[in-house]
Amino acid sequence: MATAAVSPSYARTSSGSPSGIWSWLTTVDHKRIGTLYLYTALAWFAVGGTEAVIMRMQLQGPNGRVVSAEVFNQLFTMHGTTMIFLVVMPLSAAFFNFLIPLQIGARDVAFPRLNAFSYWVYLFGSLFMNASWLVGMAPNGGWFGYAPLTTLPYSPGLNIDFWMLGLQILGVSSLAAAFNFITTIINMRAPGMNLMRMPMFTWMAFVVQFLLVLAFPVITIALVFLQFDRFFGTNFYTITQGADPLLWQHLFWIFGHPEVYILILPAFGLVSEILPTFSRKPIFGYPVMVYSGILIAFLGFGVWAHHMFAVGMGPIADSVFSMTTMLIAIPTGVKIFNWIFTMWGGNLRFTVAMKFAISLVALFTIGGISGVMHASPPADLQQTDTYFIVAHFHYVLVAGSLMGLWGGIYYYFPKITGRLLSEKIGNWHFWLTFIGVNLTFMPMHWSGLYGMPRRVYTYDAGQGWEIFNLMSSTGAYLQALAGIIFAYNIFRSRTHGEIAGNDPWEAPSLEWSIPSPPPDYNFETIPTVTSRYPLWDIKHPELTASVPHSRHGDERNDVSLGGKHVGAFHDHMAAGTPEGGLNPNATQASSKVSLKTAEELGIPMPYPTIKPLWVALFMTLMFASLLLIHKDKLPLAMAGVVTFATLMTGFLYAWLTAPLEPHHH
């Protein structure tokens, strides 16, 4: 992390970069919060990965005896919940935090303290949910938590309480962050950074925030119903009182399917950054990439019931959801082709980041094709709830999301820490991951089509599934090994990695124009942007000559229509007089440049504050108190809720009444 010892690209003054644990607890700097998200999510990845490895040990052969049925059910529930809510979403959030302000040329997010609050809520929520392991009552209803299995008569223990309260807590984190980023992207773009000049990652992040804002309230409602059923005896899902169990499924998947795009679009965004840089070509069909991202998100709200073809919705609903699901393959396919044609004709440099990005393109395609196979309900009825589906969504989420995120880490680690990750170790990480992922998930297509149900803690011998399970388990062990190598690479490179300089990859976007790691105020002067590729404009103006530019930052960008560009071109760029605060020499490894502090530059920076942490902690404790209801201690539970709610409100008041930053002069 950015202590003085690992800030090699420039000498920091102590006031510019406070260190020590207190500085991390009180930070409101989007880059530090992003770093916290990154390492926390990686830690949970180790936990979720360990859960997966234990499951694969159990399933390595028939009639396994490594864990009991109950423990296995807890493992797969927590594996899914952890990987989705505690790993992939926060890893994406790490990049949102770190990159969005840098990519749009801003000094921070719109609400820095709310941003800190989002992180602390995530941390405490994840700790709360995993505390269930310590009392031997980890959630066991599946990550999808279908009612009525999760209702009190069928799950009387605290397991489901930990799960639903944990998800409620995490939902607060995601929603707060989403509103923050939407506000940031809409309001804080540098002059000239109009929407159609935003880097693809920021675009996909923008789309994802809307998905979060629209999808999370739905699961919140579903969970509130469940909370009321379990705590106060209401009958939203009580089958003996005539409840319709499909209510939960519809609500859950109206959230759950957009959630898939919440998990994959940030990775798509990262890949759209990595491929152009290492192809030395701009993204192919930028507007189409943007529109297809929006279209995927939009259609993503109209396909939820394809998770429910087996529940008996009738032929009309089945047909409609089948068609909408097939349609979503079109914008996704467009993205794949546009990526390939971004590389077409380029000078491809196969760095580790590039290899991960290419793997996403190659392997996500497999997940996409099996996805279309599920879109046909009669075929899906033979595939759903078997290992075929497990294969499908792991090709989407591991070979897709995680590959993209790993690529993003290799790509942005130098920006975050100032040092490059080792390419040599990284190659081992990549190839072991690539082989491990395919060896784990490819055979699952076969075990599924040969009739193996999913979510089973054991299976009988002689069903023809042994060889596939053995392969899957072997692949999982390889992935675990890859994970250990990855951890070693991060650990080692933080202190021994090659010094990166501002722009180790010769990338086109704004974040590479500033030192690595960036100073707390990011940009000494807010840059003025005149095209989609501001750094290439400076370094290789001949290459961006055909891109539409504006003379002034605030002019509207031109749109490419029918392959023809309309509008002004950037003769001033070719003359070598960039506008705004971009330093033409910025890309040199200016290792000894002494940066000024924010104070010296007269930039008002937000005060560090501990208050968001307290608010997050008391909110978590407020939710946690509800557990006592099921210990038959209603008065104590209510006392806890009231006490912690009061403390939370008190600290919130203190937070809201304290000034954010010194007054502007």
């Binding site: 009639n63 005896r65 009991s68 109950e70 279908y146 009525p148 089958i239 169990p245 030395r280 701009p282 087996a310 529940v311 008996g312 032929p315 089945d318 047909s319 089948s322 068609m323 097939m326 079109i330 396919g333 467009v334 082709f337 546009n338 390939i340 590389m343 077409w344 380029g346 000078n347 440099r349 290419i358 395609t365 497999i366 196979m373 046909s376 009669p378 075929a379 899906d380 009825l381 033979q382 709830d385 190659n427 190839w431 395919n438 055979p443 076969w446 089509l449 040969y450 009739g451 149900p453 089973v456 803690y457 009988d460 002689g462 069903q463 023809g464 060889i467 392969m471 055909s546 392959g563």
Partner: protein, 464 residues
């Protein structure tokens, strides 16, 4: 970049290993594959699946080929000029929007046709079967086959965890759940359909292969602790065998007559006496073999099965022989339909006492013990509960515990002694004295000794 990192060689090795493993796997049997086409429905699905897999494979090869070609062709070489910056190509982008759309239309039309075909109402002359999901076992009811008990109560043919279907006849399943959501699936016969409380679902198909067969079925919606242990068998048999099976199911269990209240010592003795416990009633293979040698599943039942078979001294199960086909013959069951779940090591039972199990004693223990709280044995007035599986013909079933163990005395005895040890989370109490019962959270004091359990096993095994 002439950069060949060593880890890349791993990929070649892995590819070779994977190929070998797949070839090895291809040689294996895949009994539960969805590619068996034993029903009309599965053939339609297969047609769709083929379109999907061919289209998918074509797209896969096309995309990956372009990708791999791009990677080789355009890798950076020293001294190469900067690439031309191409920002897009509208014609190409329209092409790869429209072509997938055309592919999807090709997939979509037969999809919708098949949806409406498969979800139309079943033929009116279909065999009706009610499937009721329980945590964690299956109840199969045949509402078209009813009979009156001695007390005038209307009963239906009902069984557990074993489904008999006549070949060539459409079967219409009515799917319901008593508790959480389950999903009914025999991969070799058709796709799955969920069982949902307060919902009634339907699923129909026609098993139409020419020979009788046994298939594995399973619950495929996660339903709690023992979801993995909620399996069942489906037997497709000839219409004649099916009729014979129904006739047998309609009759009260042969052993049950003997214990009809009031239990007459005479009849009980008559029912139980001729049996050498291990020789006949305990070894279901033998009885089933006797019943099936004449009336195998493909041979129409003559109604005179048993003729020509020298009755073994123990095989006096008159109803079995009278009824002809009464159960799928165990020796004809393929190996993959016989469960091989290992016995829990912690659970001890003295198998020697099984030989001396007394069915008459067992009948009394069952009809007056805690069994009456959950189970039915038709013909026994005290046994009318419907919480657990109907035991009327339990002796003729091939498996116990929802397909988890073979139905033989060794497994049955341990099941009665400590079902929770045998199957996680099961709702049945523990009855072995000295065993721990997780339901009551105490050690069993009032229960059965191993000898008593042997009696109960002898009785249950006699309920053919």
């Amino acid at each position: 970049m002439p950069f060949h990192p060593r880890p890349r060689r791993l990929a070649q090795l892995a590819l070779t290993v994977a190929l070998v493993a797949f070839l090895a796997a291809c040689g294996q049997d895949h009994p539960d594959t969805i590619f068996h086409h034993r029903t009309d429905v599965n053939r339609d699905v297969d047609y769709l699946f083929k379109i999907l897999i061919y289209a998918g494979t074509a797209v896969f090869i096309f995309v990956e080929a372009i990708l791999v070609w791009t990677l080789f062709k355009f890798r950076a070489r020293p001294g190469q000029p900067e690439p031309e910056h191409v920002h897009g190509n509208t014609t190409l982008e329209i092409a790869w929007t429209v072509i997938p759309l055309l592919i999807l239309i090709v997939i979509g039309i037969p999809t919708v046709k098949t949806i409406f075909k498969q979800q139309a109402a079943a033929r009116s002359d279909a065999l009706q079967v009610e499937v009721i999901g329980h945590q964690w076992w299956w109840e199969f009811r045949y509402p078209q086959f009813t009979m009156r008990s001695a007390s005038g109560k209307l009963d239906t043919v009902v069984t557990a965890n074993e489904l008999y279907l006549p070949l060539g006849k459409t079967v219409n399943f009515t799917l319901k759940s008593r508790d959480v959501i389950h999903s009914f699936w025999v991969p070799a016969l058709a796709g799955k359909r969920d069982l949902i409380a307060n919902h009634t679902n339907y699923l129909w198909y026609t098993p139409d292969s020419t020979t009788s067969d046994a298939f594995n079925g399973a619950c495929v919606e996660y339903c709690g602790t023992s979801h993995a242990n909620m399996r069942f068998k489906a037997f497709t048999v000839s219409q004649a065998d099916f009729d014979s099976w129904v006739a047998h199911q309609e009759a009260p269990a042969e052993g049950a007559v003997a214990v009809g209240t009031p239990i007459s010592p005479d009849s009980a003795a008559k029912a139980a006496a001729p049996r050498s416990p291990l020789g006949s009633q305990i070894d279901p293979n033998k009885n089933l073999a006797a019943g099936s040698t004449q009336a195998g599943p493909t041979v129409p039942s003559s109604g005179k099965a048993g003729v020509g078979v020298p009755p073994s001294p123990g095989a006096v199960n008159t109803q079995v022989t009278q009824a002809g086909f009464v159960a799928f013959p165990r020796e004809k069951m393929p190996a993959y339909t016989v469960p091989s779940t290992p016995l829990p090591a912690a659970l001890k039972f003295d198998d020697n006492v099984l030989a001396s199990g007394n069915a008459a004693n067992g009948a009394k223990l069952v009809a007056t013990g805690m069994c009456i709280a959950c189970h039915t044995v038709r013909g026994v007035p005290t046994m009318q509960a419907t919480v657990g599986p109907n035991l009327t013909h339990v002796g003729s079933r091939t498996t116990i515990a929802a397909g988890l163990y073979p139905n033989d005395p060794r497994h049955l005895a341990r099941w009665v002694k400590n079902a929770n040890e045998m199957k996680a989370g099961v709702g049945m109490n523990t009855f072995g004295i000295g065993e721990y019962d997780p339901i009551t959270k105490s050690t069993v004091k009032i229960g059965f000794t191993d000898a008593q359990i042997a009696d109960i096993v002898a009785y249950l095994s006699s309920l053919k």
